[in-house]
Symmetry: C2
Subunit: 454 residues, 2 copies
């Protein structure tokens, strides 16, 4: 079910991440022909699973899934994959004003004034986010006001204590891999709401970090690509899309592909780097200039055993006082080895992406050791992935909206341009920024195109 | 003085606007060989002069120059061009809460409470902006705080009356062609400071709108290009820059050019759309994701005479209540015909760029007529230029920094990447966003490269 007899596909899909592959699969289900063009030599986009020396697979990209992420859960079930619960027993650790505190729930280790103002702030955010219509956040009652300010400004207004502010910054970096100054309050609320609220989005059990996929999240894309067979073309970065009333011509480094429709399933920033003829409408082009990518370096170290568990630690750390911003136990249940994963997030990720790999390794392991003792500084293996250095992601997890973007250009996010449709987790109305959102966006774009093909 | 004997230039310059052409000219002065690659079929970038039916030239792009803009003034003198003072006699008009008021100084037509709080706000801005070191605004004493908030949030905090807020919005759109929600307070202060403060930047006599160039501002680029002769290649959009320790290879639609150095003299957003091999460092790439272009449609109508002058009007209008955001008398002194120029700016420019040209003409002329009577609705000629629809500008006047950008990535603005140097008005430390800044940036980049070539 690749291209038609005349070499023309019903749809040319740009990007073989979860969004693009899902869109292609849905179209093929409806008996349409597709070609999927992927810039990299692999599928999976911002998911990337890595085989460690001991044979275990770890995720250097998207990793966790949780309840209400119905589309990714269904895909996991379709492919009969197993999931692994995220380990979460024992004491979390949190750096507060330079000192490390412990508690079963990291935030409860905050001084009580800080904890209570943080909980009040969360309560306010929960009230605000429910006022946002997810299909059109720019129609929220206070959209202009919320989009006119940064999360940083809101935080300075709302939180007084340095401990609460620090914890808030750390959480924001963990969720968005960006600085609170960079994103609009309206976008922040929209994102929270799209994920079902703060508890859901930050939680392990019952939350977005509940489980991971045994064998790695990239499998989903690999299995989708297997289904699609020859229609997926690797190492084919798309440079130009020419489009008119009769169809699309997509130029990549491996050739030119024609189709009735195109689905561009890459982050808005990267979509903006393709040349369009005719050029994109001003508002769509402007949108691609206003959703800069977050930045993260994901760092995994393995040890003979998850020794921190015996010391009573869950492995979870939240800090604004180290290069690594947050850590989790990343041990596979049936593995003989233990693993820790740390994320360098936001501005620190970009700065550290320019450092020598060995400096970075030393620093990350020193950060691990601060929380789990000297033994954490001496791993069996250390692997890392800097997503800011990936040309075909230009950052990670996602493109985030700067102030003024949602109200100014938000309606251009999913609006097709002629025969060009848009997918990618950034375009999702539920779980945007997550694997689940990517799949939803692919389904939505395929549905749009399918209706026009019918 | 184009390329060397082996076909390799000392420098390949990307972009034949004022920045790129100036850089090339400076290098040629030092006896270096250059190739300038321009995407369009013309030079001048964001300057564009248009010949009206009566033979008069008007500027559809950058137009005004003023005192302290030493570099552009020097270039005007070098080429022996004449300048025309901007007409500014008579009554300005300003729309306040839906009503039009008149005064010789538009802002003085505001209700006194609004005027005085606006003047207080300007006073505060003047105090703040002088605290910014122009070479490194991210080192300002309150850089983090100012960069953590939008101009919109600052305005809501600072101004109470709707009249003052409306006037502030109008001025901001006139200066930045963007919404106050989109730019960082730190960037705003930096830009004001780079132009010598509010009075200088908003003024006519003694200010940035003091004079224009007889025959049009694009002449500067045309004359520079004439000097450079064959080394300027038009219709050569640059797609890729490969660079290493030994030099650069620049691929354009008309061929591949090699050089010892590259100077990329286009807005950061567009620089980010070129493919680099190796890819740009994470922080530089991130910067290109965080300087979205402003938007403006410049609209000029001509009449048998500047009839508004006889009615006592200067032709200047400031409004947040029309599609056109501000207007000026655009009559040439020795011309028999009168002319008005109106700018649609910011979000409105993008929305209206998607409307039919005839609707836009009707609306703009209706806006002119609101201020100058029915006669303004019936011009001899009407011309316009929508810069958001220009693929090789992607907006106008300039790329503006979103919150968090200056502190997070500001030091990547001029920092060379290997053998790639950066120019363009956005990189100027004086008069950034202006023609003068473009010239300064070209001189600075040429100087950097010249030192490395020596």
């Amino acid at each position: 079910m690749t291209e038609g007899e005349d070499g023309r596909s019903d749809a040319v899909v740009v990007g073989a991440g979860l969004a693009g592959l899902t869109a292609a699969r849905e179209l093929v289900k409806d008996d349409y022909s597709v070609t999927v063009l992927e810039a990299r030599d692999r599928v999976g986009g911002r998911t990337l699973s890595h085989r460690l020396a001991d044979g275990e697979r770890v995720d250097l990209g998207g990793q966790w899934i949780g309840p209400t992420q119905d589309r990714v859960n269904e895909l996991v079930e379709t492919y009969d994959l197993d999931t692994i619960p995220q380990f979460d027993d024992g004491l979390d650790q949190i750096a507060i004003d330079g000192v490390v505190k412990e508690h079963e729930d990291a935030l409860r280790a905050l001084p009580s004034a800080a904890y209570s103002e943080l909980m009040d702030a969360f309560g306010r955010l929960e009230t605000l986010r429910t006022q946002i219509p997810l299909e059109e956040p720019y129609s929220a009652p206070n959209a202009e006001k919320w989009d006119g300010t940064t999360v940083e400004a809101w935080k300075r207004e709302t939180l007084e204590t340095t401990a609460a502010r620090g914890a808030f910054d750390s959480l924001l970096r963990a969720l968005f891999t960006t600085e609170p100054s960079e994103i609009s309050l309206l976008y922040f609320l929209t994102y929270l709401h799209a994920g079902g609220g703060i508890e859901r989005i930050t939680g392990v059990e019952g939350g977005a970090q509940e489980r991971r996929i045994e064998g790695g999240a990239q499998q989903l894309s690999q299995l989708l690509a297997n289904e699609l067979g020859d229609s997926v073309q690797l190492e084919s970065p798309v440079r130009a899309v020419t489009h008119d009333d009769s169809g699309v011509i997509v130029e990549s480094d491996t050739g030119t592909y024609t189709g009735s429709f195109a689905i561009v399933a890459i982050p808005p920033t990267l979509a903006g780097r393709i040349t369009y003829d005719p050029p994109l409408p001003a508002r769509r082009d402007a949108l691609t200039q206003r959703m800069p990518m977050g930045a993260t370096i994901k760092c995994i170290a393995t040890y003979e055993e998850p020794f921190w568990r015996r010391a009573g630690y869950s492995g979870f750390v939240l800090t604004d006082d180290d290069v690594v911003g947050f850590m989790f136990d990343d041990t596979a249940p049936e593995s003989t080895t233990g693993a820790l994963v740390g994320f360098i997030a936001g501005e620190t990720a970009r700065t550290w992406s320019e450092r020598e790999a060995s400096d970075r390794r030393d620093q990350v392991l020193a950060d691990f050791a601060r929380y789990f003792g000297e033994r954490a500084g001496d791993p069996l293996e250390y692997v890392e992935q800097s997503w800011s250095n990936e040309q075909w992601s230009a950052g990670c997890y996602a493109g985030n909206m700067t102030p003024g973007t949602m109200t100014g250009y938000g309606d251009a996010l999913r609006e097709p341009v002629g025969r060009i449709h848009w997918a990618g987790t950034e375009t999702a109305t539920q779980w945007c920024g997550y694997m689940d959102g990517a799949i939803r966006s692919g389904e939505r774009a395929a549905d749009e195109v399918s209706r026009r093909l019918a």
